[in-house]
């Protein structure tokens, strides 16, 4: 077996070694059982006191969602103005300008919703102040928002019948103090020792061997890069994200970063199972998610290490695989691994140009974001998966001749309605967003806009279509990675993806939590021999089939016109 392959196997193994125990710890911690981080209690008490929060107050699902939306709204308004006027705020050694209103609108939404689409470039589009107190702050709190929402769902299924779903502020605060902050400190320290800058000074400069003067942006990036991955945010300090030599200096930092983005999503799966005292359920969900990942990862690795047929036609040997757009220090395999991981979970950080990947790789990346629930983002991954569980429960419940039920609660019209809306919302916003873009490009290429639609696309034809599809999908999945090659910092893309981002974030959080809240308040039905158990492999496979079928049915035509058409034209 070659070293590159061993590298990603080791990376995944370490991920599990950290992720699984972390999940068990999270289950205990959120359940209020004794854990070793209890020494932080005084700090949390201080935060509650300062914020006027009564941590004992119990909330129902509606109160939870009200709290969540309220606090997110505050961040949205604060961040928007901070970005508009960042040039007038302190910590701006490079003298960067304020963001335009449409860019600020897009940027702030994308950070609040844990997406980090980044239509700006960190070196020039943000200041140390906004990097720190807007973007990095949001990278913590948006991840904590997702985790807290997921814990509300966990709480709904821990007891038989309940309307007491705990306190949102407690879940939210503990997600930061007991999880994100400590882990970030560890990861940031490792990165700092590997060469990621931590300086507050402005641009450095040096004269290269050829005699050119080179300006090098820097800044306190190590902490930012740590939470960007741990919180599945993905927004880079620098424009080139994880491909930038300062943001991701070597193979070790690459491993640390790719591990740190998966551990919390995996931990959340185990936290769910252990929290509701159904360990087997955690393993089944984890197994199905891993199956999903493998089915995307293996073909991606094959397609990337195989090299490009176009280059092969030129008679160039490609022993290291398709290296266009990739960093030599990582190689094709580790890059393929990263690209799969960053798209199945909603990080969206990149260590290569996805635009340069093989057409089929691009399709796998798109599919990963279209399904958006194999591990998925911090907290929201399990929420997305839950929606598919409900649909699977409904169909398979009927198939075994019983009114469908999940964990002892009947799934009826109201829950099915919410689940259908949420499951179909994702294809809806992706297809409509892409259609708007395609329509504009086709019919108004020379519209009298600041950036003409004709110049949006770096590539014509099928690849151009993929670029538009990718951008919208990335926004809808709150992923944030870019295919690049798309001129996206303009009014159309900023505003369109801004709305896609909002729709793709809050409804998919409210929906599952609402279903959980509704189910939890229903009468508990004990299991019998006729009950369909939801922690079996059979049911897991059923859920997987539902996920695959919904994605396939909704996206097959779009994928045909993008990556498939490109692929078949290329190998012809």
């Amino acid at each position: 077996m070659n070293t590159e392959l061993l590298g990603i196997i080791a990376t995944y193994a370490i991920t599990l070694l950290i992720g699984i125990p972390l999940g068990i710890y999270l289950a205990k911690m959120f359940a209020g059982e004794k854990v070793w981080t209890d020494f932080l209690k005084p700090l949390e008490k201080g935060i509650y006191k300062l914020s006027g929060i009564n941590p004992e107050e119990s909330m129902n699902w509606k109160q939870h969602m009200k709290a969540l939306l309220m606090i997110n709204m505050v961040w949205l308004v604060y961040g928007f103005f901070a970005l508009l006027y960042q040039d007038k705020l302190p910590l701006n050694p490079d003298g960067n300008l304020g963001q335009s209103p449409d860019l600020a609108f897009n940027s702030i939404i994308s950070f609040v919703v844990n997406c980090n689409l980044q239509h700006y470039s960190g070196e020039t589009g943000a200041t140390y102040f906004t990097q720190h107190f807007v973007f990095m702050f949001l990278q913590f709190v948006s991840a904590a928002t997702g985790i807290a929402a997921a814990v509300v769902l966990f709480k709904a299924f821990r007891d038989k019948t309940t309307t007491n779903l705990g306190n949102f502020w407690v879940f939210f605060t503990c997600s930061i103090t007991r999880l994100l902050l400590p882990l970030s400190i560890v990861v940031a320290t490792i990165l700092a020792f590997n060469g990621t800058p931590t300086s507050y000074e402005g641009k450095d400069q040096f004269i290269s061997l050829q005699g050119d003067t080179v300006q090098v942006s820097r800044g306190p990036a190590a902490g930012f890069v740590a939470i960007k991955h741990l919180g599945t945010n993905g927004g880079g300090w620098f424009g080139a994200n994880g491909a930038h030599p300062l943001e991701n200096p070597n193979y070790l930092s690459n491993m640390v970063e790719v591990i740190s983005q998966v551990i919390i999503p995996i931990a959340m799966v185990f936290a769910f199972g252990y929290f509701i005292r159904r360990k087997k359920m955690a393993w089944v969900i984890f197994g199905i998610m891993t199956l999903g990942m493998m089915l995307l990862l293996v073909p991606t690795v094959i397609s990337e290490t195989g090299g490009s047929p176009n280059i092969a036609k030129m008679g160039v040997s490609q022993l290291t695989g398709a290296m266009e757009g990739k960093e030599v220090r990582f190689g094709a395999t580790a890059t393929a691994y990263w690209s799969t991981v960053t798209t199945i979970i909603s990080t969206g950080s990149i260590n290569s140009m996805h635009d340069s990947a093989m057409p089929l790789t691009g399709m796998y990346q798109l599919i990963a974001m279209m399904m958006n629930c194999f591990y998925g983002g911090c907290g929201v991954g399990i929420l997305n998966y839950f929606i598919f569980i409900i649909i699977a429960v409904f169909i398979s419940g009927l198939m075994v001749g019983r009114t469908p039920e999940f964990l002892g609660h009947k799934v009826e019209a109201r829950e099915v309605k919410i689940a259908s809306i949420i499951a179909l919302l994702h294809p809806f916003i992706i297809l409509v967003g892409t259609a708007l873009a395609a329509y504009t490009v086709t019919n108004f290429p020379d519209a009298d806009w600041l950036v003409k639609p004709a110049s949006w696309l770096n590539n014509p034809g099928f690849h151009g279509f993929s670029e538009m599809l990718y951008e919208t999908t990335s926004a809808a999945a709150n992923n944030g990675s870019g295919f690049e090659g798309l001129g996206d910092n303009n009014m159309f893309w900023n505003v369109m993806t801004g709305f896609v981002l909002l729709l793709g974030r809050f409804l998919p959080i409210i929906g599952p939590v609402a279903i959980a809240g509704l189910l939890a308040s229903k009468k508990y039905i004990p299991e019998s021999a006729g009950t369909l158990k939801t922690d079996t492999l059979t049911f897991g496979v059923m859920t997987f089939v539902v996920i695959v079928i919904i994605a396939a049915l909704a996206f097959f035509p779009a994928l045909t016109l993008g990556p498939l058409a490109e692929h078949f034209s290329m190998i012809k």
């Binding site: 649909i391 409904f394 169909i395 398979s396 419940g397 009927l398 198939m399 075994v400 001749g401 019983r402 009114t403 469908p404 002892g408 799934v411 009826e412 019209a413 099915v416 309605k417 259908s420 809306i421 499951a423 179909l424 294809p427 809806f428 297809l431 409509v432 259609a435 708007l436 395609a438 490009v441 086709t442 019919n443 034809g461 508990y524 039905i525 004990p526 019998s528 021999a529 006729g530 009950t531 369909l532 158990k533 079996t536 059979t538 049911f539 059923m542 089939v545 079928i549 396939a552 049915l553 909704a554 097959f556 035509p557 779009a558 045909t560 016109l561 498939l564 058409a565 078949f568 034209s569």
Partner: protein, 677 residues
């Protein structure tokens, strides 16, 4: 009279259904079914396109458009036909039951006592009529005086006559049945047109048919799928424009109709009606479709011991006098106490005594006073004029009488009682003047094959509970022998009620069967209450189903019918959605192949041409509906093999099968079309 024919398509019904299929094209009716409504809109659009294509071929040739239009119209008609044939079958079944009671002359007793002959359909609720030997009972009612033997074969198919009398739990008579002997006075309990049967017919006919909760939930899910495919098809237009790929309206509509779940959408209401129809074929009248659906979810089944688990009634098998009492005087006391006891047990005591002793007293001494059995005293007996007070009853009630009078209760009786009870027999203790005389042993006979049925229920996850008036020991013995999971011994009417409430508090769904007025509260409390047709009006009102056969094991069948209903919906939904995979592989290459030849690789079925590919897909989509009508009407069979195993089985057949079948079907149709073209 019973119309149990299993021919799915009787010519007369097919004719009605065909007519109905066209009537149901009315958009106001179609809108109840969102999936098929969108197909109807698509059909209409295709009609316009077809007309347009006569003069302009930019949207494809007239012939092609016309064929697409025809196939879509057929799709809608097939779906309508499925619903119509299900309705027609249910209606025919109900009609055959209803026919028995039309236009029968009724002898109405007016308030002044005179008799007037009226037609049965002029009877009103509360009217009183009388029937004598040879009369057909004009409508449903309750006997207010008299006793009669009645032939109920018109409804139940059972030729043995039954006895119906005023008071008690067997006071109901059904319209259409025939009085064989004696004379009864009956009060009309339901006005014509409002009987359970009429309600059932209305349910089948559609006007008042309400969707059941699961059906509503499924309709929502299907509407969701439909919505997503609307978006897929609409957004495909700008996508295709970007790629310079013109797509005709016919192709868009074909793609849309093939993708939306028309198979399950077209069969959904037929499945629901067929469920009620199957219940009716089992001679069970349901008051709502929901009741059938709920039956599939039942967790606990309350069954009366007598008649359900054991054959008929207990029979006396032995007399055991206590020490110091000679057998003859004990037998005499037993006979005396049973002479006025009309229960089968009482009669069996006399039969046993007669077999042992030819010189038996046949009537009680002149002037004796009978003490009737009540649920409170749980004993009966008689007081003779010469001062003998003979009592016969349950062990503890007689012991109370004996002890209350200050007399000792013999140990050997107590032992005998225990022995009998632990062997599954029922001990009856007899006392005279508050002195215990001895024990009569009654024995139960368990129905053959009943324990297999309970085993089947256990595999379905249904807990069976035997309800009996026996003491706990006897009850336990029979329960174990018959294989029920639990029992309620020495049951008083309120015990049933309490048991149901306790189980419901645990979140379980409970079904029970009952006939008596004192069953009514429990029948109402139970999630599925099946009243026997012979039962009192109160019981029938309280339950949500009426069993015309008065067969206590019917509950088991009802549970399976309920499960079948849900399974049929689930499997056909899976099948319908799984079909889309193949349809995509037929249509998507066909849409793009002309402008993007590289996509030829996606044409894995190697279909002849884009036109034949699209036509094959829509034709397959249409004909799969009539092909599945038999499945919808008969229901997918239920096998009690555990939920996960059942899911695996149905996923294999309808999921994997649903993926593969259309690949074969579409390819075959394509071969036929390309030969014809």
């Amino acid at each position: 009279m019973k119309n149990k024919s299993n021919i799915l398509f009787e010519p007369a019904l097919v004719n009605t259904a065909l007519r109905q299929s066209f009537i149901k094209l009315d958009p106001r009716l179609m809108i109840r079914n969102p999936v098929m409504f969108t197909v109807e809109i698509g059909t209409f659009v295709m009609l316009v396109v077809t007309i347009y294509s006569i003069s302009n071929s930019s949207q494809g040739s007239f012939g092609y458009n016309f064929v697409v239009f025809l196939v879509l119209l057929l799709t809608v008609l097939f779906a309508n036909f499925a619903e119509a044939i299900a309705e027609a079958r249910g209606k025919a079944q109900a009609d055959s039951l209803r026919k028995t009671r039309e236009e029968t002359p009724a002898k109405v007793v007016l308030s002044d006592g005179t008799i007037e002959i009226r037609s049965s359909n002029q009877l009103k609720k509360g009217d009183v009529f009388f029937c004598e030997t040879g009369d057909t009972i004009p409508t449903d009612g309750e006997i207010i005086s008299g006793i009669a033997t009645i032939d109920e074969s018109a409804i139940t198919g059972e030729s043995a006559p039954v006895i119906r009398e005023s008071g008690g739990d067997k006071s109901s008579v059904t319209g259409g049945t025939k009085v064989l002997s004696d004379r009864i006075k009956v009060q009309v309990s339901t006005a014509p047109g409002e009987s359970f049967l009429d309600k059932m017919i209305a349910l089948v006919e559609g006007a008042s048919r309400q969707k059941t909760p699961n059906e509503i939930a499924l309709t929502i899910l299907l509407a969701g799928f439909t919505l997503v495919f609307i978006i897929v098809c609409i957004t495909l237009k700008p996508f295709a424009d970007y790629s310079n790929t013109p797509i005709t309206i016919a192709s868009f509509i074909a793609l849309f109709v093939c993708l939306i779940p028309t198979t399950i959408g077209g069969l959904l209401s037929a499945i629901g009606i067929a469920g009620m129809d199957r219940a009716l074929r089992a001679n069970v009248i349901t008051k709502s479709g929901k009741a059938v659906e709920t039956a599939g979810d039942i967790d606990v089944l309350l069954l009366d011991k007598t008649g359900t688990i054991t054959i008929g009634n207990r029979k006396a098998t032995n007399f055991y006098p206590t020490a110091g009492i000679i057998i003859k005087s004990f037998t005499d006391a037993c006979v005396l106490s049973s002479l006025a006891d009309e229960t089968p047990e009482g009669k069996s005591i006399i039969e046993l005594a007669a077999a042992q002793d030819s010189k038996l007293i046949t009537s009680p001494p002149e002037g004796s006073k009978f003490i009737k059995f009540t649920a409170e005293t749980r004993s009966s007996g008689l007081d003779t004029p010469d001062g003998r007070r003979i009592r016969k009853g349950a062990f503890d009630s007689i012991r109370n009488i004996v002890l209350a009078a200050g007399n000792p209760f013999p140990m050997d009786i107590e032992e005998q009682v225990k022995r009998i009870a632990s062997n599954g027999g029922t001990p009856l203790v007899v006392s005279e003047n508050e002195q215990a005389l001895g024990v009569i042993e009654l024995q139960d006979i368990i129905k053959p094959g009943i324990s297999e049925r309970f085993e089947r229920l256990r595999k379905m996850g249904v807990k069976t509970v035997m309800v009996t008036g026996d003491n706990p020991l006897t009850a336990k013995f029979i329960a174990e022998k018959a294989g029920v999971d639990d029992f309620i011994a020495e049951a008083k009417p309120e015990d049933k009620m309490n048991y149901i409430k306790e189980e419901q508090a645990l979140g379980k769904l409970v079904a029970m069967m009952g006939d008596g007025t004192n069953d009514a509260p429990a029948l109402a409390q139970a999630d599925v209450g099946v009243a026997m047709n012979s039962g009192t009006q109160a019981a029938k009102e309280a339950g949500n189903m009426v069993d015309l056969d008065n067969d206590p094991t019917k509950l088991i069948e009802i549970v399976e019918i309920g499960k079948q209903l849900l399974i049929t919906r689930g499997t056909l939904t899976t099948f319908s959605i799984a079909n889309d995979v193949a349809k995509y592989f037929a249509i998507v290459p066909a849409l793009f192949i002309v402008s993007i030849p590289a996509l030829r690789s996606l044409n894995i079925m190697n279909l002849h041409s884009p036109e034949t590919a699209i036509l094959s897909a829509v034709i397959f989509n249409a004909i799969v509906i009539p092909l599945l009508i038999p499945v919808a009407l008969r229901g997918v069979s239920y096998k009690p093999i555990g939920a996960s195993a059942l899911l695996r089985r149905n996923l294999l057949i309808y999921g994997i099968g649903g993926v593969i079948a259309p690949f074969i079907g579409i390819k075959l149709i394509d071969m036929v079309i390309s030969l014809m073209a």
